[in-house]
């Protein structure tokens, strides 16, 4: 497969809008600030999380076409806007166009549950808010971003839990390699919501600190990239751990990814784990300890700074690598683990000194 290169990236994070605030905070190893989440059904007014402070979709995007738009769509659309820098995509009349692949876990769980609640509680079961019906399709965030910027290439939404960022990156590079898009925006997004907090804490413990946000990278084919390559995507490999053996499956996935990249554990300058909750995360850390020396494990920021960001985790890991200063040519990898079983690894070659962030 001809390699894909990342030529730009952006984010909306608890540190603010755009890649600058996120890159600076990750370089400084600053934990994301906690603030109050949105007021909504089942929310606890006292609860805090590592949310994007004061994020309101319509303040961020304006009123046109945003009525009823859910938070995950808002976070994604702002990230895409920041990434495209306000300018329209180049050459959108060309045949293949710009693709977009977004990784998610379950979209807006809060939005889905409140919609059903309206049906259950209304005088009529169809007393649901029409302005929210476009959110009912889980592809809203990706497709609304495409609508706002006329991105007419392949537009996909992949649901893969904590693997979502890696799977989206993999699908995006395949779209390029298979000649299905000129360039692809790839990344993943997660919204904070009261119901997601309840679901996550019930599964992973009452002390779990939740985070949210979106990171998107612009991916182009190495041979035809118009932007300055920041990193080359050398390999992505994912599989499923049988019967709780995350360590065995992850070791195999890292081995396969490094082999595809034509390199080995000793060449890895930085390794960033996904900091999964529970035993999955314990095993992930153990595998990193077995494969990589302490220096490699400490060279990039940990996504634990951002809290449990579920689907957004993989994209935040990429941001951690892209933000880190160092000589061009460094080999770096991220691993991802989902407590439900999927595990994966992506290998990059970092091509800048990281100061561009």
């Amino acid at each position: 497969m001809s390699t894909a290169v990342i030529t730009d990236w952006s984010a909306v994070s608890p540190y603010g809008t755009g890649r600058g605030p996120l890159a600076a905070a990750l370089r400084a190893r600053t934990a994301a600030p906690e603030s109050a989440g949105p007021e909504e059904w089942t929310s606890d007014p006292a609860a805090t999380a590592r949310v994007v402070p004061g994020f309101e979709v319509r303040d961020a995007l304006g009123k046109a076409g945003t009525r009823g738009m859910d938070r995950i769509t808002g976070l994604t659309a702002v990230t895409v806007r920041e990434l495209l820098g306000g300018a329209g995509p180049v050459g959108e009349d060309d045949e293949l166009g710009t693709g977009l692949v977004l990784g998610v876990a379950s979209g807006s769980v809060q939005g889905f549950m409140e919609f059903t609640k309206a049906s259950l509680e209304g005088d009529s079961p169809i007393d649901v808010p029409p302005s929210k019906t476009p959110n009912m399709a889980m592809n809203r965030a990706a497709s609304a971003s495409a609508i706002r910027h006329r991105l007419k290439g392949p537009n996909s939404t992949v649901a893969a839990g904590r693997l979502a960022g890696l799977v989206a990156l993999d699908q995006a590079r395949r779209l390029l390699a298979d000649g299905r898009a000129e360039r692809v925006l790839a990344g993943s997004a997660e919204e904070y919501s009261a119901t997601r907090a309840h679901l996550t804490r019930a599964a992973h413990g009452a002390g779990t600190v939740l985070g949210e946000g979106c990171v998107m990278v612009l991916l182009e084919s190495a041979g035809t990239a118009t932007g300055t390559p920041l990193a080359e995507v050398l390999a992505v490999h994912h599989r499923v751990a049988p019967d709780g053996d995350f360590a065995g499956a992850l070791t195999a996935a890292v081995g396969a990814a490094l082999a595809e990249a034509g390199t080995g554990p000793a060449d890895v300058w930085a390794a960033v784990p996904s900091e999964a909750p529970g035993t999955a995360g314990d095993q992930e850390r153990r595998v990193h300890g077995e494969l990589f020396p302490a220096e490699a494990r400490g060279r990039a920021a940990s996504v634990a700074l951002l809290g449990e960001t579920a689907a957004a985790t993989g994209a935040y890991q990429l941001a951690a690598l892209l933000s880190e200063p160092g000589a061009p040519g460094r080999i770096a990898l991220v691993t991802a683990v989902d407590p439900d079983g999927p595990v994966g690894c992506a290998v990059l070659r970092l091509l800048t000194d990281g100061a561009a962030g």
Binding site: K63, A64, R67, D123, S124, D127, P129, P130, S131, P134
Partner: protein, 84 residues
């Protein structure tokens, strides 16, 4: 029940809210789509809110008629009450 007494103030308020207008922008004949930038979901939202708040049922085929305030009031005048 048909030939309702229509609560014009409430209907105006609903439309102004959904289309995000200043009150004086909405006239009896200003068009939701052409003049106020609404899309097809806006019309459904107006229908839905009126059904809910005024307790009536507007047949789906009347949706296309809801082009301005005057037309909404016309449809409402003959709308059925919701079943209790």
């Amino acid at each position: 029940m048909t030939a309702n007494t229509v609560d014009v103030t409430t209907v105006r308020a609903i439309i102004v809210d959904i289309l995000e207008l200043e009150d004086d922008e909405l006239t009896a004949t200003s068009l939701f789509i052409e003049d106020h930038g609404a899309d097809s979901l806006g019309a459904i939202e107006i229908l839905s809110r009126i059904e809910k708040e005024l307790g009536v049922v507007i047949p789906q085929e009347d949706l296309v008629k809801l082009v301005n305030l005057e037309a909404v009031l016309g449809v409402l005048a003959t709308a059925e009450r919701r079943q209790p």
